[in-house]
Protein backbone atom coordinates (compact mmCIF):
# COMPACT_ATOMS: atom_id res chain seq x y z
CA UNK A 1 0.00 0.00 0.00
CA UNK A 2 2.72 2.44 1.00
CA UNK A 3 4.56 1.69 -2.24
CA UNK A 4 1.53 2.86 -4.23
CA UNK A 5 1.30 6.26 -2.55
CA UNK A 6 3.70 8.11 -4.89
CA UNK A 7 1.49 7.10 -7.83
CA UNK A 8 -1.48 8.81 -6.23
CA UNK A 9 0.20 12.24 -6.28
CA UNK A 10 -1.50 14.29 -8.98
CA UNK A 11 0.57 15.41 -11.96
CA UNK A 12 1.97 18.84 -11.42
CA UNK A 13 2.53 18.44 -7.70
CA UNK A 14 6.12 18.90 -6.81
CA UNK A 15 7.15 15.81 -5.00
CA UNK A 16 9.96 17.64 -3.21
CA UNK A 17 7.43 19.82 -1.37
CA UNK A 18 5.61 16.84 0.12
CA UNK A 19 6.50 15.57 3.60
CA UNK A 20 8.70 12.53 3.60
CA UNK A 21 6.52 9.46 3.23
CA UNK A 22 9.15 7.09 4.53
CA UNK A 23 7.72 4.09 6.32
CA UNK A 24 8.73 4.13 9.95
CA UNK A 25 9.38 0.91 11.79
CA UNK A 26 8.42 0.50 15.45
CA UNK A 27 9.47 -2.36 17.65
CA UNK A 28 7.46 -3.92 20.47
CA UNK A 29 9.32 -6.35 22.69
CA UNK A 30 7.60 -9.44 24.06
CA UNK A 31 9.34 -10.40 27.27
CA UNK A 32 8.40 -11.35 30.82
CA UNK A 33 4.95 -12.27 29.54
CA UNK A 34 4.17 -8.71 28.49
CA UNK A 35 4.30 -6.36 25.50
CA UNK A 36 6.62 -3.36 25.87
CA UNK A 37 5.47 -0.72 25.17
CA UNK A 38 1.97 -1.92 25.93
CA UNK A 39 0.53 1.10 24.12
CA UNK A 40 2.01 2.41 20.88
CA UNK A 41 0.91 5.25 18.62
CA UNK A 42 1.93 5.06 14.97
CA UNK A 43 1.12 6.75 11.68
CA UNK A 44 -0.90 5.00 9.03
CA UNK A 45 1.48 3.08 6.79
CA UNK A 46 4.03 2.48 9.55
CA UNK A 47 5.45 -0.94 10.19
CA UNK A 48 5.28 -2.56 13.63
CA UNK A 49 7.57 -5.44 14.51
CA UNK A 50 6.96 -7.61 17.57
CA UNK A 51 10.10 -9.39 18.78
CA UNK A 52 9.66 -12.43 21.04
CA UNK A 53 12.46 -12.33 23.61
CA UNK A 54 10.58 -14.56 26.02
CA UNK A 55 11.28 -18.20 26.84
CA UNK A 56 8.23 -19.58 25.00
CA UNK A 57 5.85 -18.68 22.12
CA UNK A 58 3.26 -15.89 22.14
CA UNK A 59 0.72 -14.42 19.74
CA UNK A 60 -0.38 -10.91 18.78
CA UNK A 61 -4.11 -11.23 18.21
CA UNK A 62 -6.48 -8.29 17.71
CA UNK A 63 -9.53 -8.30 19.97
CA UNK A 64 -11.72 -7.85 16.87
CA UNK A 65 -9.61 -10.48 15.02
CA UNK A 66 -8.54 -7.84 12.46
CA UNK A 67 -5.03 -9.29 12.70
CA UNK A 68 -3.51 -12.41 14.19
CA UNK A 69 0.16 -13.33 14.15
CA UNK A 70 -0.37 -16.98 15.02
CA UNK A 71 2.34 -18.50 17.20
CA UNK A 72 5.53 -16.39 17.31
CA UNK A 73 8.33 -18.69 18.37
CA UNK A 74 11.18 -17.79 20.71
CA UNK A 75 13.62 -15.31 19.09
CA UNK A 76 11.25 -14.79 16.12
CA UNK A 77 9.46 -11.64 14.98
CA UNK A 78 6.11 -10.77 13.46
CA UNK A 79 5.57 -7.70 11.31
CA UNK A 80 2.34 -5.81 10.79
CA UNK A 81 1.70 -2.92 8.42
CA UNK A 82 -0.71 -0.41 9.98
CA UNK A 83 -3.02 0.32 7.06
CA UNK A 84 -6.18 1.29 8.89
CA UNK A 85 -6.71 4.18 11.29
CA UNK A 86 -8.11 3.47 14.72
CA UNK A 87 -7.25 2.00 18.09
CA UNK A 88 -6.76 -1.73 18.17
CA UNK A 89 -6.64 -3.78 21.34
CA UNK A 90 -4.78 -7.05 21.15
CA UNK A 91 -3.76 -9.90 23.39
CA UNK A 92 -1.94 -13.23 23.42
CA UNK A 93 -4.29 -16.15 22.83
CA UNK A 94 -1.91 -18.36 24.85
CA UNK A 95 -1.67 -15.99 27.83
CA UNK A 96 -4.89 -14.02 28.37
CA UNK A 97 -3.22 -11.73 30.93
CA UNK A 98 -1.08 -10.16 28.17
CA UNK A 99 -2.70 -7.08 26.64
CA UNK A 100 -1.63 -4.24 24.37
CA UNK A 101 -3.04 -1.51 22.13
CA UNK A 102 -1.87 0.15 18.97
CA UNK A 103 -3.26 3.49 17.90
CA UNK A 104 -2.99 4.21 14.18
CA UNK A 105 -3.30 7.93 13.34
Amino acid sequence: MAALLPLMVSPGTTAAKLPAAAVRTHTITIENVQYTPAHLTVRRGDRIVWVNKDLFPHTVTATDKAFDSGSIDVSKTWTFLAKKRGTFGYSCTFHPTMKGTIEVK
Binding site: E31, N32, V33, Q34, D54, L55, F56, P57, V74, F94, H95, P96, T97, M98
Partner: protein, 176 residues
Protein backbone atom coordinates in the same frame (compact mmCIF):
# COMPACT_ATOMS: atom_id res chain seq x y z
CA UNK B 1 -7.82 -30.40 53.46
CA UNK B 2 -7.21 -31.41 49.85
CA UNK B 3 -4.06 -33.37 49.00
CA UNK B 4 -2.81 -30.65 46.64
CA UNK B 5 -2.85 -28.06 49.38
CA UNK B 6 -1.09 -30.41 51.79
CA UNK B 7 1.57 -31.09 49.18
CA UNK B 8 2.23 -27.45 48.38
CA UNK B 9 2.34 -26.47 52.02
CA UNK B 10 4.87 -29.25 52.54
CA UNK B 11 7.02 -27.92 49.71
CA UNK B 12 6.95 -24.40 51.07
CA UNK B 13 7.71 -25.65 54.55
CA UNK B 14 10.69 -27.60 53.26
CA UNK B 15 12.06 -24.68 51.28
CA UNK B 16 11.67 -22.39 54.26
CA UNK B 17 13.21 -24.96 56.63
CA UNK B 18 16.14 -25.46 54.27
CA UNK B 19 16.69 -21.73 54.09
CA UNK B 20 16.71 -21.40 57.86
CA UNK B 21 18.90 -24.41 58.51
CA UNK B 22 21.60 -23.89 55.90
CA UNK B 23 21.34 -20.27 54.82
CA UNK B 24 19.30 -21.24 51.77
CA UNK B 25 19.79 -23.76 48.99
CA UNK B 26 23.01 -23.70 46.98
CA UNK B 27 23.04 -22.89 43.25
CA UNK B 28 23.25 -26.58 42.23
CA UNK B 29 20.27 -27.27 44.54
CA UNK B 30 18.33 -24.32 43.12
CA UNK B 31 19.01 -25.64 39.60
CA UNK B 32 17.54 -29.03 40.60
CA UNK B 33 14.51 -27.36 42.20
CA UNK B 34 13.83 -25.25 39.07
CA UNK B 35 14.18 -28.16 36.66
CA UNK B 36 12.03 -30.45 38.83
CA UNK B 37 9.34 -27.81 39.39
CA UNK B 38 9.02 -27.32 35.64
CA UNK B 39 9.12 -31.03 34.86
CA UNK B 40 6.39 -31.81 37.38
CA UNK B 41 4.09 -29.31 35.69
CA UNK B 42 5.00 -30.63 32.22
CA UNK B 43 4.06 -34.16 33.35
CA UNK B 44 0.72 -33.00 34.77
CA UNK B 45 0.10 -31.00 31.58
CA UNK B 46 0.77 -34.00 29.37
CA UNK B 47 -1.75 -36.04 31.34
CA UNK B 48 -4.33 -33.22 31.22
CA UNK B 49 -3.87 -32.78 27.46
CA UNK B 50 -5.18 -36.31 27.10
CA UNK B 51 -7.76 -36.44 29.88
CA UNK B 52 -9.21 -32.93 30.23
CA UNK B 53 -12.89 -32.57 29.49
CA UNK B 54 -13.12 -28.85 28.68
CA UNK B 55 -11.33 -27.49 25.62
CA UNK B 56 -10.12 -24.50 27.65
CA UNK B 57 -8.54 -26.74 30.28
CA UNK B 58 -6.95 -28.78 27.48
CA UNK B 59 -5.54 -25.58 25.94
CA UNK B 60 -4.20 -24.49 29.33
CA UNK B 61 -2.52 -27.90 29.77
CA UNK B 62 -0.93 -27.59 26.33
CA UNK B 63 0.40 -24.15 27.32
CA UNK B 64 1.88 -25.49 30.56
CA UNK B 65 3.77 -28.14 28.59
CA UNK B 66 5.08 -25.65 26.01
CA UNK B 67 5.94 -22.85 28.48
CA UNK B 68 7.58 -24.98 31.16
CA UNK B 69 9.51 -26.88 28.48
CA UNK B 70 10.77 -23.50 27.22
CA UNK B 71 11.83 -22.50 30.73
CA UNK B 72 13.59 -25.81 31.27
CA UNK B 73 15.40 -25.51 27.95
CA UNK B 74 16.79 -22.14 29.07
CA UNK B 75 17.60 -23.49 32.53
CA UNK B 76 19.41 -26.48 30.99
CA UNK B 77 21.44 -24.24 28.68
CA UNK B 78 22.36 -21.97 31.57
CA UNK B 79 23.51 -24.68 33.96
CA UNK B 80 25.64 -26.16 31.17
CA UNK B 81 27.18 -22.79 30.49
CA UNK B 82 27.83 -22.19 34.18
CA UNK B 83 29.10 -25.75 34.70
CA UNK B 84 26.58 -26.23 37.49
CA UNK B 85 25.43 -29.80 38.05
CA UNK B 86 21.89 -29.85 39.47
CA UNK B 87 22.01 -31.45 42.87
CA UNK B 88 19.04 -33.35 44.20
CA UNK B 89 17.87 -32.14 47.62
CA UNK B 90 14.88 -32.57 49.96
CA UNK B 91 12.91 -29.82 48.20
CA UNK B 92 13.43 -31.19 44.67
CA UNK B 93 12.66 -34.70 45.91
CA UNK B 94 9.51 -33.49 47.64
CA UNK B 95 8.44 -31.72 44.44
CA UNK B 96 8.98 -34.91 42.47
CA UNK B 97 7.04 -37.01 44.98
CA UNK B 98 4.24 -34.45 45.08
CA UNK B 99 4.11 -34.51 41.29
CA UNK B 100 3.92 -38.29 41.22
CA UNK B 101 1.17 -38.31 43.86
CA UNK B 102 -0.76 -35.73 41.86
CA UNK B 103 -0.50 -37.81 38.69
CA UNK B 104 -1.73 -40.87 40.58
CA UNK B 105 -4.68 -38.93 42.03
CA UNK B 106 -5.58 -37.37 38.67
CA UNK B 107 -5.28 -40.73 36.95
CA UNK B 108 -8.31 -41.97 38.88
CA UNK B 109 -10.52 -39.05 37.81
CA UNK B 110 -12.32 -38.20 34.58
CA UNK B 111 -14.63 -35.60 33.04
CA UNK B 112 -15.45 -32.45 34.97
CA UNK B 113 -14.01 -33.90 38.20
CA UNK B 114 -10.64 -34.27 36.49
CA UNK B 115 -10.73 -30.68 35.21
CA UNK B 116 -11.52 -29.29 38.67
CA UNK B 117 -8.84 -31.35 40.41
CA UNK B 118 -6.21 -30.52 37.79
CA UNK B 119 -6.92 -26.78 37.83
CA UNK B 120 -7.18 -26.63 41.65
CA UNK B 121 -3.77 -28.25 41.80
CA UNK B 122 -2.36 -25.85 39.20
CA UNK B 123 -3.53 -22.86 41.25
CA UNK B 124 -2.02 -24.21 44.49
CA UNK B 125 1.13 -25.37 42.72
CA UNK B 126 1.86 -22.05 41.00
CA UNK B 127 1.16 -20.17 44.23
CA UNK B 128 3.59 -22.41 46.12
CA UNK B 129 6.31 -22.19 43.48
CA UNK B 130 5.95 -18.40 43.23
CA UNK B 131 6.27 -18.07 46.96
CA UNK B 132 9.39 -20.27 46.93
CA UNK B 133 10.86 -18.26 44.02
CA UNK B 134 10.31 -14.98 45.89
CA UNK B 135 11.18 -16.01 49.44
CA UNK B 136 13.91 -18.56 48.91
CA UNK B 137 15.22 -19.15 45.40
CA UNK B 138 15.87 -15.58 44.20
CA UNK B 139 17.31 -14.41 47.58
CA UNK B 140 19.52 -17.53 47.81
CA UNK B 141 20.82 -17.65 44.23
CA UNK B 142 24.51 -16.85 44.29
CA UNK B 143 25.30 -16.69 40.58
CA UNK B 144 23.99 -13.51 38.93
CA UNK B 145 22.89 -15.32 35.76
CA UNK B 146 20.98 -17.96 37.72
CA UNK B 147 19.31 -15.19 39.71
CA UNK B 148 18.48 -13.38 36.43
CA UNK B 149 16.88 -16.53 35.02
CA UNK B 150 14.71 -16.87 38.13
CA UNK B 151 13.67 -13.23 37.80
CA UNK B 152 12.90 -13.79 34.11
CA UNK B 153 10.72 -16.87 34.68
CA UNK B 154 8.77 -15.32 37.55
CA UNK B 155 6.24 -13.45 35.31
CA UNK B 156 5.39 -16.74 33.59
CA UNK B 157 4.36 -18.25 36.92
CA UNK B 158 2.28 -15.14 37.67
CA UNK B 159 0.54 -15.33 34.27
CA UNK B 160 -0.10 -19.06 34.65
CA UNK B 161 -1.51 -18.53 38.13
CA UNK B 162 -3.91 -15.82 36.89
CA UNK B 163 -4.94 -18.02 33.97
CA UNK B 164 -5.52 -21.02 36.27
CA UNK B 165 -7.54 -18.89 38.71
CA UNK B 166 -9.70 -17.65 35.84
CA UNK B 167 -10.39 -21.23 34.75
CA UNK B 168 -11.04 -22.25 38.36
CA UNK B 169 -13.73 -19.54 38.63
CA UNK B 170 -15.24 -20.63 35.30
CA UNK B 171 -15.36 -24.27 36.35
CA UNK B 172 -16.98 -23.33 39.66
CA UNK B 173 -19.63 -21.32 37.79
CA UNK B 174 -20.39 -24.15 35.40
CA UNK B 175 -20.75 -26.53 38.32
CA UNK B 176 -17.59 -28.41 37.36
Amino acid sequence: MRPTIVFCTAVLGLVAAGARAQGGPTDPQIAAIVVTANQVDIDAGNLAKKKAHSSEVKAFAERMVVDHSGVNKSAGELVQKLHVTPESNPTSESLKKGGDDNLAALGKLSGAAFDTAYIDHEVAYHEAVLSAVDKTLIPSAHNAQLKALLVKVRPAFVAHLEHAKHLQAQLAKSGG
